[in-house]
């Protein structure tokens, strides 16, 4: 069980709610509610916004495709024993 209460999308300010909509496009998936990690990162825009930009820059296509990078990310998550 999370150590914090994850707020519903409606409890976030408008810029965060716009970001939740953008994350649907990023993942090409119609989430019924924004993923927990999106809501966590939206809590503090001073951290979440630049962190999110860095993540999108790292995950964008370059020498490796987005799909290849998602696989690398899954491997890193596995090595970190993170089930999320």
């Amino acid at each position: 069980m999370p150590t914090v209460r994850l707020r519903d999308a409606e409890e976030y300010p408008e810029p965060a709610r716009r970001a939740f909509e953008l994350s649907k496009r990023w993942f090409n998936h119609e989430f019924p509610v924004p993923p927990a990690m999106s809501r966590v990162m939206a809590w503090d825009p001073g951290f979440g916004t630049p962190h999110g930009r860095a993540m999108k820059r790292a995950m964008g296509p370059g020498e490796f495709t987005r799909g290849e990078k998602e696989m690398v990310a899954a491997a890193v998550s596995g090595a970190n024993a993170c089930s999320y």
Partner: protein
């Protein structure tokens, strides 16, 4: 990256990379490797395969040189490693990147250096290396944030289910 075969291959790379790193980092400084000169014919044959696979390098990677104290074990360890790292559904170039990312994540000095060299040998440029470092760094952050807050997985249904049977099923 759809289809389970890709993910089985990625998991094999993660597993065998960790297995090799554990021995190389843990025993490399305290146990003598089997040297190429003086190796038994059985071990020498495997060493030749290893050198060929890694572009003709004169040195045998540490974990294999350590495993060579038991030739039968070396042969099986190498067969598994070769299968995991070779071109299949995933290309060797991506597999080297996966191995590098896992090694960096687990702070393996051996694996980080070895697989970084392999990535470069297989044609990954500095931009590509930087990309893999960035992904590794960002997801090392995300995973720790998620764990600290004990978030429960909620993105598992993004990937489509692969309905195909296991390889070989129905062939007999």
């Amino acid at each position: 990256m759809a289809g389970d075969a890709l993910w089985y291959e990625a998991a094999q790379v993660v597993g065998i990379t960790n297995a090799l790193n554990v021995v190389a980092d843990g025993l490399g400084g305290v146990m003598a490797p089997v040297k190429v000169t003086g190796a038994s014919p059985e071990v020498a044959a495997v060493f030749d395969e290893i050198r060929s696979f890694y572009g003709g390098t004169p040195d045998i990677p540490g974990p294999f040189a350590l495993a060579a104290h038991d030739p039968a074990y070396l042969a099986d360890l190498w067969a598994a490693a070769r299968h995991a790292y070779d071109d299949n559904c995933l290309a060797r170039r991506l597999k080297a990147a996966l191995a590098f990312a896992v090694s960096l994540t687990t702070r393996s000095a051996f694996g980080t250096g070895f697989h970084l060299a392999e990535m470069r040998r297989l044609g990954v440029g500095e931009r590509g290396v930087t990309e893999i470092v960035g992904v590794t760094q960002m997801f090392s952050s995300y995973t720790k944030i998620a764990d600290t807050l004990q978030l429960e997985p909620d993105m598992g249904d993004i990937a489509p289910v692969d309905p195909t049977p296991a390889p070989g099923a129905g062939a007999g």
